[in-house]
């Protein structure tokens, strides 16, 4: 009997709920957020801050002004693309933890186009960067998919490990062959030419990547619910055995889905280098590929919900800097952000699972 031992012959186990009610599905996130804010405020009070003031600062910083809102959208773009990327893999029970690396490979490929094949019309160059990034990310997703499809090699580990390879490869390029010759030896590539940068909306930093994200969400929705392929993906995710009986080609779907997943994450990389940094540089992503996993789960793997959740999480990140401006140390901001995520994810688990206490024979103890 597995589970957390909590006394003599007693274990605490998580059991999947047979069904979960609509009301619980709506209520639980609300309760989780209240618990999160409450837990956070205890922590803030203990460290001598006024929680209400801090929360107001966070919310108003992220959503309270046109500028704050625009920056929240900017941060939401990579989260959205990566969140969609991992969600389609998760739907098939493929644990693609590699969005971070796929993002970097997309960024590298887009930078390669911008730096070395940047001549031509803006539309042409951007289209080429788009395709290169999607292809590079897709290939990076495909690499761990092949051993997974053929030999059932655990993709959680391989995708995770390939993140380090991709990040180090990108670093190698900016520390070495792609370093800007006029950059005082600093590890940065040259700045992209103007026509290799994504256009902005008005005076903000919101770039065309937002449109990529929204189109990707619609496309994923259509694929998943209105195509035969999407049907296969969903069936394989729900029950691989049933899928095999139905004659679905699981190996082929693993390859296709991982390529699609990697390609979307690669686009996030293109959007970041072309829209935000306009050059390849180290620390391009502050972990978007990992945060995207949370985004995907909170969005329950639904493309439109993921789009919404990515704005909320982006707000949490953007609001963090505002909290610092009101005097909260950076480390405390991180703790608070972590606490909020902890409660929300914890609540999420409880919508799908019961906590039960069972005795040694596995019989539930009435309590």
């Amino acid at each position: 009997m597995s589970g957390l031992p909590i006394g003599r012959d007693r274990v605490l186990v998580l059991e999947k709920r047979g069904h979960f009610s609509q009301s619980a599905a709506l209520l639980v996130p609300v309760i989780s957020i209240i618990c999160a804010l409450f837990g956070g405020s205890l922590f803030l009070l203990a460290t001598g801050y006024d929680p209400v003031e801090i929360y107001v600062t966070m919310l108003s910083g992220a959503f309270g002004s046109a500028y704050g809102l625009s920056e929240t959208v900017v941060k939401a773009i990579p989260l959205m693309l990566c969140g969609l990327a991992v969600s389609v893999a998760f739907r098939m029970q493929l644990w693609n933890i590699g969005a971070e690396g796929q993002l970097y490979m997309g960024a590298v490929a887009a930078s390669w186009v911008a730096l070395f094949h940047g001549e031509g019309s803006r539309l042409g160059v951007l289209a080429l960067m788009f395709l290169a990034a999607a292809a590079a990310g897709g290939i990076w997703g495909l690499i761990p998919a092949i051993p997974r499809a053929l030999f059932k090699v655990n993709e959680t580990i391989t995708t995770l490990m390939l993140n380090y390879v991709a990040i180090l490869y990108s670093n190698y390029l900016v520390y070495g062959p792609w370093k800007d010759p006029k950059g005082m030896n600093f590890p940065l590539s040259a700045v992209f030419p103007e026509h290799a940068t994504l256009p902005y909306f008005g005076d903000t930093r919101i770039h065309l990547g937002l449109v990529f994200g929204l189109i990707a969400a619609v496309m994923l929705y259509i694929i998943l619910w209105h195509t035969r392929w999407g049907y296969e993906i969903r069936v394989i995710g729900e029950s691989p055995v049933a899928a095999r009986y139905a004659g679905m080609n699981i190996a082929r779907n693993i390859l296709l889905v991982m390529a699609l997943s990697g390609g979307l994450a690669g686009l996030a990389g293109m959007a970041e280098v072309s829209g935000i940094t306009q050059r390849l540089q180290p620390n391009l992503s502050p972990g978007y590929g990992y945060t995207a996993i949370i985004v995907a789960w909170l969005g329950r793997l639904n493309p439109f919900a993921i789009t919404g959740v990515s704005f909320l999480l982006a707000g949490l990140l953007v609001g963090g800097y505002n909290m610092q401006m009101s005097g909260l140390p950076a480390a405390t901001v991180s703790i608070l952000q972590g606490a909020i995520l902890f409660f929300i994810l914890g609540g999420e688990i409880l919508t799908k699972y019961h906590l039960r206490i069972r005795d040694a024979r596995g019989i539930e103890v009435a309590e």
Binding site: L27, V74, K179, M184, P282
Partner: protein, 376 residues
């Protein structure tokens, strides 16, 4: 069962209502507060700082934070915003700087090289705000740069290290292979070899400004290779702690690090930003500030040597004092020829002196440095 659920929902709804009520009330309260802030703003100029590490890193950002506090205490008519710590030198920097402008800050100090492009972008959009960037080279009418000639105290600390080493191998934990760091290594090595021509300085790159564990590990590897003094161009006391643990010596950087490794730290170049921050902000308030590239010498006090550890003898201190006087008087500076590079080629002829521009672009090692500058 239904009753239970109903009760639960009622309680929750009440909780939500209470919370929402609080939130609403607080909103009003804080907007009232903001109104007050605005009326104060009319008189007080808001000044903001951005750090690359935590203010408590005991090194680079800590030194800037001491300067920030000095500014707060010594200049009136300003409101110094709490510092923004650990802002990554990448995509986020532009957002953070722009956000500070949006929040009404009129003077913004960005204290790391990697903020240069982000600051330039924001500065072009806001001509009414004064931007000051530490250690860069891009200037606009409303954006100046500031830095100190830290290579001067580095040279002096090299004298102490050269007099201390027995193995004639000195380690140097260095951040990035950029001219600023290379210049420091060269100045230090020239100082070492001015008193000990047989000594060598071994360099290890960490490719990070702030990473306590990595810095310490780099120092350990140098100690294992026979170094008995370790110098650093890093932001934390990690390398000093490694020296202390190995029973060897260290030359610190940024701030007085003796408290972290009392038996190891000989001395070290330190930053003293306070007076510069105070003067600059005062000049901006008075309207006398003009965009410039300030590179303050040791005579201005912006750079200095940390207090000596107990093991440093008076003879050595006297040697250092004599050299320091020459630098302050302007009769001599660190990069005065003859200087050869570490391939034996003469780089500075006897009697000649490197210009500021040559120093700012320095990407070669002087004789006595054991290391390479990764370059494409």
């Amino acid at each position: 069962m239904y009753k239970k659920v109903l009760a639960l929902i009622t309680v929750l709804l009440m909780a939500v209502a209470v919370f929402a009520g609080c939130g609403g009330g607080a909103d009003k309260a804080s907007s009232g507060q903001q109104g007050e802030d605005k009326s104060q703003e009319a008189e007080k100029t808001k000044v903001a700082f951005i750090y690359v590490g935590p203010a408590g890193d005991a090194g680079w950002s800590y030194a800037h934070d001491l300067g920030r506090k000095y500014l707060e205490e010594n200049v009136s008519g300003i409101e110094v915003t709490p510092p923004l710590e650990s802002v990554p030198e990448g995509a986020d920097a532009e957002q953070v700087i722009e956000n500070l402008v949006q929040k009404g800050n009129k003077i913004i100090f960005a204290t790391s090289f990697g903020y240069m492009d982000a600051m330039e972008k924001v500065a072009k959009k806001h001509p009414d705000v004064t931007f000051l960037h530490c250690s860069g080279y891009k200037v606009l009418d409303n954006m100046g740069t500031y830095f100190g000639r830290i290579y001067q105290p580095r040279y002096l600390s090299g004298i102490v290290a050269g007099k201390t080493t027995k193995s004639n191998t000195i380690g140097y934990v260095a951040a990035f292979p950029i001219p600023e760091v290379v210049r420091g290594i060269n100045a230090f090595t020239l100082g070492v070899r001015s008193v000990n021509p047989d000594a060598k300085v071994k360099v290890v790159w960490t490719n990070t400004w702030y990473d306590p564990a990595k810095e310490k590990d780099a120092a350990k590897s140098l100690l294992e290779q026979g170094a008995d003094v370790v110098a650093q161009h890093q932001d934390t006391p990690g390398p000093m702690q490694a020296a202390e643990e190995a029973g060897k010596f260290g030359v610190s950087y940024n701030s007085d690090m003796r408290q972290f490794a009392p038996k190891a730290v000989l001395t070290g170049p330190v930053w003293n930003w306070g007076p510069y921050y105070a003067e600059t902000v005062q000049a901006i308030l008075d309207g006398t500030w003009k965009s410039e590239q300030y590179w303050g010498p040791i005579g201005d006090g912006i750079v200095d040597l940390a207090p000596y550890g107990d093991m440093v003898t008076d003879d050595v201190k006297a040697l250092v004092d004599a050299k320091e006087r020459e630098i302050v008087d302007g009769t001599w500076d660190v990069f005065t020829g003859p200087i050869k590079d570490n391939t034996g080629k003469e780089r500075v002829a006897a009697g000649a002196k490197l210009t500021d521009q040559e120093m700012l672009e320095m990407l070669w090692f002087v004789e006595g440095v054991d290391g390479i500058i990764p370059q494409e």
